[in-house]
């Protein structure tokens, strides 16, 4: 055992999460450049693997956002790391994500008048923008909260 109290472990989990989530958001966004520049929307086996990898990563990130992550920690530590302020930050992150996704939908709808947009591409862009926005907003709020201690 580490000998640390649940509070110390929850604090460490919060700090790690605040550091890692924005970094993951940037990696997630960078991954999309290969999808759109490398023919990721194609129908070859390699394209299917690429899309499946993106989908798996999207689901993992969504679950991490929705549950607070830290699945290897005991329940008590996770509950503490997902306390009232954290839940408020998560709610705000989801609010921002919804607005960003809706803005993306409006933009895609307008683009579709001039350029055909496939359903897969539209879903890809909407999910990516929403998830990345939520990760960045949550990370920003958590980092701000951890400052000035």
């Amino acid at each position: 055992m580490s000998g640390k109290s649940d509070a110390e472990r929850a604090e460490a989990l919060s700090r790690r999460r605040a550091r890692v989530l924005p970094f993951l958001a940037i990696l997630f966004l960078l991954q999309q450049t290969t999808y759109f520049t490398g023919g990721g929307a194609g129908d070859r086996t390699v394209d299917h693997v690429h899309i499946a990898a993106w989908l798996v990563l999207s689901i993992v990130l969504l679950l991490a956002l929705a549950t607070g992550g830290g699945w290897i920690y005991p329940r008590a530590v996770r509950d503490l790391a997902n306390d009232e302020a954290t839940r408020a930050h998560r709610d705000d992150a989801f609010r921002v994500a919804f607005l960003v996704s809706m803005a993306g939908c409006v933009l895609l709808y307008l683009v579709s008048f001039y350029e055909p947009v496939t359903g897969r591409d539209a879903l890809h862009l909407t999910m990516t923008s929403g998830i990345a926005a939520a990760l960045l907003r949550f990370g920003f709020l958590e980092r701000r909260a951890l400052r000035d201690g």
Partner: protein, 68 residues
């Protein structure tokens, strides 16, 4: 202008010689949450406000007030 919920959390905590982490442990939240309340960044729920007031030996009205 919107009303703001101000508080004397930091002053009272210092009076009692408590750290943010110690106060956080008493009310079962993280130090981060205590920090955001002290800085006025986060408005706690009524439940947490009562717990904080009890932990610091004050009434909720003594610990929190509306600033106009």
């Amino acid at each position: 202008m919107a009303d703001r919920l101000a508080n004397g959390l930091k002053e009272r905590r210092n009076e009692l010689g408590l750290t943010q982490a110690e106060l956080a442990e008493r009310v079962a939240v993280t130090r981060k949450t205590v920090n955001t309340i002290e800085n006025g960044v986060f408005t706690p729920s009524a439940t947490l406000a009562i717990k904080l007031a009890q932990a610091l030996g004050l009434s909720v009205e003594q610990l929190f007030w509306i600033e106009r």
